[in-house]
Amino acid sequence: MRWPALLLAMIWTAQADAAPAGLTPGMPVPQFSRPDFAGNLVEMSAYRGKVVLIDFWASWCAPCLVEMPHLIHLQNRYRSRGLRVIGISMDDSAGAAKAVVGRFPFNYPLLLGDTKLGLRFGGILGLPEEMLVGRDGKILHVWRGEIPAASIDAAVKAATG
């Protein structure tokens, strides 16, 4: 093998090995503190003792928009049992994300994420992505890609039961 090819192969291996995995069940949910679109501070630490469903979405993501009425329904149905939904937009600009606010009767906070927050969550490398966090602050489920609503329903029901 010629040296340049060998060097490339070594770099390839190092990069592939260095890539950290995303968050998985059992890990503590990353802490963050940000204002939502209404100006209220959303602090992850304040949700201890609640079951939290974090929805990563964007205005350009059609499957994300499809899920929103269902998330609103879940928040209504399970609020008394301690469910709290948080929507984190991965739009490049606040303007694009805020334009979605009037499209649905949101009953949960929406805030703008960014690269730093995405990396803190192990990389939000495609949407939709949702994460269910237990009352102890540990991740119970992570769903990536288009998600069957029944899966989320069952997990939320079990976590809030």
Partner: protein, 153 residues
């Protein structure tokens, strides 16, 4: 009952579901012959031979978190400024230059960027143009497969 509620939710939401996009060109604008599988590109990068120019035509948040090593950010294909940036990235290259574009923001059939980006370069006369077929998203179809990644910038 649950199925009926979900159908009802979808029907109620349907008028609001159109994502914000300046260019409504679907991924079905990309012909099958132009598609490249992730494994093919990974082999190409690994081989150390002549490398294609790789352009990410999705969203900046995604690119900034992780992208294919050497890939340039070209801006989202569903926006005018994204397409303008894409054209400026390739402007000085000969039309037979090997180019691979990719997005991976969301499932292939829902991607708002890749069809418009492909169409723009194809219409500009680029003849050696490939589109990385990312079925679900960049995380699942590239990063999780262990292919090389540059993270965080």
């Amino acid at each position: 009952m649950r199925a009926r509620r979900q159908v009802l939710s979808f029907v109620c939401a349907a008028p609001f579901l159109k994502p914000f996009a300046a260019h409504a060109v679907g991924s079905d604008a990309v012909p099958g012959a132009a598609l490249m599988k992730p494994a093919e590109l990974a082999d190409l990068l690994k081989g150390g031979g002549p490398q294609p120019m790789i352009l990410q035509v999705g969203f900046e948040r995604l690119y900034a978190q992780a992208h294919i090593p050497g890939a340039l950010y070209a801006g989202p294909g569903n926006q005018d400024d994204g397409l303008a940036k894409l054209k400026s990235q390739v402007g000085s290259f000969p039309h037979d230059r090997a180019i691979v574009i990719y997005c991976g923001c969301c499932p292939w059939t829902h991607c708002p960027n890749i069809g418009a980006a492909y169409t723009a370069l194809h219409d500009a006369g680029f003849t050696n143009l490939k589109v990385l077929y990312i079925a679900d998203n960049f995380g699942a179809d590239w990063v999780d497969k262990g292919y090389p990644v540059t993270r965080g910038g």
